[in-house]
Amino acid sequence: MMKFLFMMIFMIPLCFMKNMFWLVQMMLFFMMFLFMNLNLNIMCFFNMSYMSYCDIISFGLILLSIWICSLMIMASESLFKLNFYFNFFLFNVIFLLIMLYLTFSVLNLLLFYFFFEASLIPTLLLIIGWGYQPERIQAGMYLLFYTLFGSLPLLMGIIYIFNDLNTMTIYFLKFFNMNMYLLYISMIFAFLVKMPMYFVHLWLPKAHVEAPVSGSMILAGIMLKLGGYGLLRVMIFLQEVNLKLNYIWIIISLVGGLFISMKCFCQVDMKSLIAYSSVAHMSMVIGGIMVMNYWGFIGSYILMISHGLCSSGMFCLANINYERLHSRSLYINSGMMNFMPSMSLWWFLLLSSNMAAPPSLNLLGEISLINSLVSWSNISMILLMMISFFSAGYSLYLYSYIQHGKYFQGLYSFYVWFISWVFIIIFALISFKYDNFKGWFYFYLILNKK
């Protein structure tokens, strides 16, 4: 575990040397394959050291973050070509990766908070530094302040826990019962803002739309999952209050997911649509975690991983369109199948995964979540049915609007294909295949546990 940390730290001087852009990206890929080969034991923590550990959730999320960071660099090739501060960009990405890696792997709850907050700073710098529109100022403010507003009470809660239990080791927290309402609110609220839940989701469309492609990919891919990871870790010692109060969050997030799914149909901006669909998926994840059964736990974890891959892939594709047509509007990006028919394959694969069509990993997550939520209450069937239906609806809407039909008559000329995108696509395909196998493994796991 330390070896990966050192590898990442020593990549930092590499970012500032000449002609090292692709080397850094290849080394991140290399690190991902190395990390994948760690010994993986499902039921316990492994690779424990004095301050870091890994269990199945941490493993998957660290793997996802390394993967997405390497894809981020690949997707930002235009920064390198245009010579737009790519050294500092690489430093930002590696710094963000270090912070995320440490967030998912430290044993101490306070250090988790420290790196959780610290990952905001490079994201803010990415949005402000390399974003495309002037609205990114407000987007950065919204991102920073929504998240800080939620996470400062989290700091209070963590220090209260330390003063009460005299330990902050995440592993030991499951032996305690801290059933206090105020503590519950302060611990959960930060993660709900980060997830985001419906009422505190306003930062997400702004931040996702105004971020550059790399910022959008990392935000959709991992930063939302920080909230999910925090919830999965923190709810262990709050079980009685959970049983009393979780229905509030489930209801808010499911109904909110429904509203957001309907709002997706009204979007004109491609990235905005994908951002709102992220909120809808995460609403189901919150629902799944909050019902506190095992299917919900596993389902939300699978949906987090799969949504991370799927959403960042879609942002990458949206950026491909943006780089060529310089517009993200649906009115202009229509009829793309006429120009880039191979790209329509990728749009279709990713959007069908987004709507949780078989054989994608999203399907497995959604099935598990539907199972867990319906077992909690039959009435949630209505909400879940409508959320799933609308997610299919807007994914198909996006696909059909972008690909089919006649192209926009105002287009003059643009590039059709870059060779390096082939690599992204090949690797994305590998990830889908690999995660499909992992997905069936989880399915076997769930069946066994039941």
């Binding site: 420290f114 403010m141 920073l144 209070m156 003063n163």
Partner: protein
Amino acid sequence: MNNNSNKMFFLFILFFSTLISISSNSWFGCWIGLEINLLSFIPLISNSKNLLSVETSLKYFLTQSLASINFLFMILIKFSLLKNFDMNNIISIMMNSSLLMKMGSAPFHFWFPNIVEGLSWMNNFMLMTWQKISPMILLSYYFNKNFLIFMIIMNLIIGSLGGLNQTSLRKLLAFSSINNLGWMIFSIMISENLWLFYFLIYSMMIFMMISLFFLMNMYFMNQLFINNMNFFIKLNLLINFLSLGGLPPFMGFMPKWIIINFLLINKFYFLTFIFMMTSLIIIYYYIRIIYSSFMFNYFKMKWMNLLMKNNMSLINLSSFISISSMILSTFIFM
């Protein structure tokens, strides 16, 4: 006139007066130290050629001598009328009030942004850091807990909300100093070591920022984007301001974390909430300054290089410290 030997003389007496004040055996010695402090600071800030400077030093003299007289009077009353050591009485409130007025803490803070506006950056640094030492330590000798908690809340709120409409960098730092006074007064109530820790880190961060503004000769927010700052200076500005605001992973998070720890040990839950939320408002106007320097288009003058200063090493040193403080602050945890 202010040549270097004058400054050295008065600076020496300034430092010495604080040491007299904090290490005296009786309250009378404390008062003497405070008076000498005032007397030696006035020549440092007044410059008879500049009308604003004269007016500033006059205002400073008036407020501080009022506070000192009050302090002396309360000391004498305490000595002659009260024979107990109880700290929860009216005399302790009056003594604390006069010391708070010396420091520029709310609700006696109205002179502070005014005077800070009239001083140069180095004098501001003295005012914001060194001049706070002796009133704080005197405060720690005889404080009234309930009164001070109320003052802390006022400090936090006034420091955060007062800076929202400012464009002068000096006044912004003045309000942030008032806010940080709230944190420091609380740390005095816990232990003097904790106060020293917070104060040292705070003065180091203020020093880095003030030295940056001093070298760039910047006094107002619109000067942030007119100048041609190179990238490391902007990065330095970003890191310093975020560090002052108390965001992880920078050095400024550490003292705030420790104070929150003690707040929660002593069960001040609502007060902690006020600490957090006001620090959020402070981060808002820091980020505004950072945006001003990072985002707006700047003029690149080709016929004059604005940064041909002899002491670039100070900028480099402060950049290095502020960037490496990130790493250092993580080491403290382990």
